[in-house]
């Protein structure tokens, strides 16, 4: 294995990569000027302050939407694989794809029914329903 030409070319490549990195970092550290200030050590991101308070709270809904997107997007990818071979896979492939799509639809129905797609939390929805209700009653009485 050590005698094969691929081995030596990879070895040279690895050494060259490591050497290049060392030379670039080392030379700039040795030759470059240095100046220190309070803001110098912060990460620079096009003038935007990149650090934010670490106790930032995001709604778990964002995570849920992201997961649904990933799930259904990846499932759709399988359909692309079927789409390029519709003729070759024939009726068996069609039935299998149909079953697959049916299961996806069933899971979408399930998600909708358990309220995973509702943006507002259940407590606020209840509050909103309560707010609408007395206003209507008030309008009728006046």
């Amino acid at each position: 294995m050590t005698t094969s030409p691929e081995f030596w070319s990879i070895a040279v490549y690895i050494v060259a990569v490591l050497g290049l990195c060392t030379v670039m970092l080392g030379l700039s550290a040795l030759l470059g000027g240095r100046s220190g200030a309070r803001a110098r050590n912060e990460p620079f991101e096009s003038g935007v302050v990149s650090a934010s308070p670490e106790n930032l709270r995001l709604s778990a809904k964002f995570y849920l939407v992201a997961v649904f997107f990933v799930i259904f997007d990846v499932e759709a990818l399988f359909l692309y694989a079927w789409a390029v071979s519709v003729r070759e896979s024939g009726w068996v492939g069609f039935v299998e794809a149909a079953v697959f799509i049916f299961i996806l639809l069933a899971s979408l129905v399930y998600l909708a029914r358990i309220g995973a797609l509702d943006w507002a939390p259940a407590s606020r929805k209840k509050r909103q329903a309560l707010q609408v209700h007395p206003k209507n009653q008030g309008g009728a009485s006046v």
Binding site: V92, F102, I103, A106, S107, V109, Y110, A112, R113, I114
Partner: protein, 484 residues
């Protein structure tokens, strides 16, 4: 796909259909007993399909698409998996009846896990192995963390998620290394490479080590056992039962295919590793169980020891040891279901906390004599006292070990069993001890015998004693494992 292949795959198809049906049932009409019956009905149909296939067919191996083969061993595994799943499902029904939040999703999770186990039972390719193992472990992560309000459950879920992901990564890294050497992903080719492994094949040896680590984690063999007590303790009791039975059973069928079904006996290097794992599991499992006051942790360590006993069959080539594996698995499943079943029934209405401390069981006999009798018999079966199923299982494994002159393994089994009698009898003595009035915590309803869970326990008890007294049919049935 021919009709023969579809027919052979019928149990998996039915299981899949029942999962989708359960999901739709939850979406349409959220009702505990209704959703439970959909899953239970589906699993029963799948079981009928396998049993029908076993009885009427000529039990041929049916290869399906190169990824799976439904052979006699797979059918035997599927029967055990489905029966155990049905037992766990009835426990879930009793246990989650008093649960405050959504109760129905647990059936979905158990159904998915069972589909994974069924896939593993038929797997003959590492792609199927991957799908099966992930399908088996990921729903169980959600199952462990099912009571979301409890900090402990979340902790257990995260622990199980991270550790089982790491174990899967190790397993499939090992698969990749062996693939790099042999150029095939077939389990039979892998098995051949494992039996021919020698010191001048570093890739195969490293791969075998990583595969053993990954599979050892799933079977919780020492030294890959650390997660077991924590996760067992934090999971709801029926899920603990599931983890201890179905989850390990599915993996063990694959382990048999990898390490036992090769045409030549296993390579001495790998044999040494397996013997080491088995001896360590038996001794460490039993010794760590000695000081446990928490019943779930104790049973976790005892299950480590039990799978140490079962690993003996991997060290013994030949069909006789496969038969022993079948007998041992069946007796272990019945007994574990019984023990966890009593725990689940005793715990269920408390809601807040499972009855798992040994003090919760002190003097239980004087309040719940029948339930306690079942628990006592099951614990004696775990200890391997004659006339119980556990004795038959242990006997089969010992006779396999003696037949191959594996004295180290047989010796550790005897030492470990002797230690284990102490901690099982410690529970039994707590069950029968006198208790001061007013200090009892356990309060399961008196109507336990009428519930499905109670019925399941009585059946498990009868099966356990029947296997202990008349094991001949089980011996014959276990011969299925040897036909592959």
């Amino acid at each position: 796909m021919t009709s023969v292949q579809l027919w052979a795959l019928l149990p998996l198809l039915i299981a899949t259909a029942s999962i989708v049906a359960t999901m739709l049932a939850i979406a349409v009409y959220r009702h505990h007993r209704f959703c439970a019956s959909v899953t239970v009905g589906g699993m029963n149909l799948a079981l009928i399909a396998v049993v029908y296939d076993l009885i009427t067919g000529d039990n041929l191996a049916v290869p399906v698409t190169g990824l799976m083969t439904v052979d006699a061993a797979a059918r035997f595994g599927m029967v055990l998996i489905l029966v155990t799943t049905l037992g766990v499902l009835t426990l879930c029904h009793a246990y989650f009846e008093g649960y405050k939040r959504n109760r129905e999703e647990i059936y979905l999770l158990i159904g998915l896990g069972t589909l994974g186990a069924l896939t593993l039972a038929c797997a003959t390719h590492t792609a199927t192995l991957l799908v099966g193992i992930e399908l088996l472990s990921l729903p169980m992560v959600a199952g462990v963390a099912y009571s979301m309000d409890e900090r402990r459950a979340i902790e257990g879920g995260i622990k199980y998620l991270i550790l089982s992901a790491a174990a899967s990564a190790a397993l499939f890294f090992g698969v990749a290394l062996i693939y790099a050497h042999i150029g095939s992903l077939d389990l039979s080719a892998m098995s051949q490479a494992l039996s021919a492994a020698s010191l001048d094949q570093p890739l195969v040896l490293a791969g075998a080590a990583m595969m053993i680590a990954g599979l050892g984690f799933k079977l919780s063999l020492v030294p890959f056992h650390q997660w077991t007590p924590d996760v067992y303790e934090s999971a709801p009791t029926p899920i603990t039962a599931y983890l201890a039975t179905v989850s390990k059973l599915g993996v063990f069928v694959v382990v048999l295919r990898l390490f036992h079904y090769g045409s030549s006996p296993i390579s001495p290097l790998i044999l040494t590793a397996l013997v080491g794992l088995a001896v360590a599991s038996m001794l460490v499992g039993s010794l760590l169980a000695l000081r446990q006051n928490n019943l779930k942790r104790l049973l976790a360590y005892s299950s480590i020891a039990h799978f140490g006993y079962l690993t003996i069959v991997l060290a013994v080539p030949g069909d006789e040891s496969l038969r022993a594996a079948g007998v041992y698995l069946a007796t272990y499943l019945v007994t574990s279901l019984g023990v966890f079943g009593v725990m689940a029934l005793v715990s269920s209405p408390m809601g807040e906390r499972d009855a798992e401390h040994i003090d919760d069981y002190r003097g239980l006999f004087w309040r719940r004599p029948y339930l306690t009798s079942i628990l006592t018999a099951m614990l004696l079966s775990l200890a391997g006292i004659p006339l119980t199923a556990g004795f038959i299982g242990k006997f089969a494994v010992i006779s396999a070990g003696v037949g191959a002159a594996q004295w180290l393994l047989v010796g550790s089994l005897i030492v470990s069993s002797a230690i284990s009698i102490y901690y099982y009898l410690r529970i039994v003595s707590a069950l029968f001890s006198a208790v001061a009035a007013g200090s009892e915590r356990v309060s399961e309803p008196m109507g336990w015998a009428q519930s499905f869970g109670g019925l399941m326990l009585v059946v498990a008890m009868i099966v356990m004693l029947w296997l202990g007294v008349y094991p001949q049919p089980l011996y014959l049935l276990s011969g299925q494992l040897a036909q592959h």
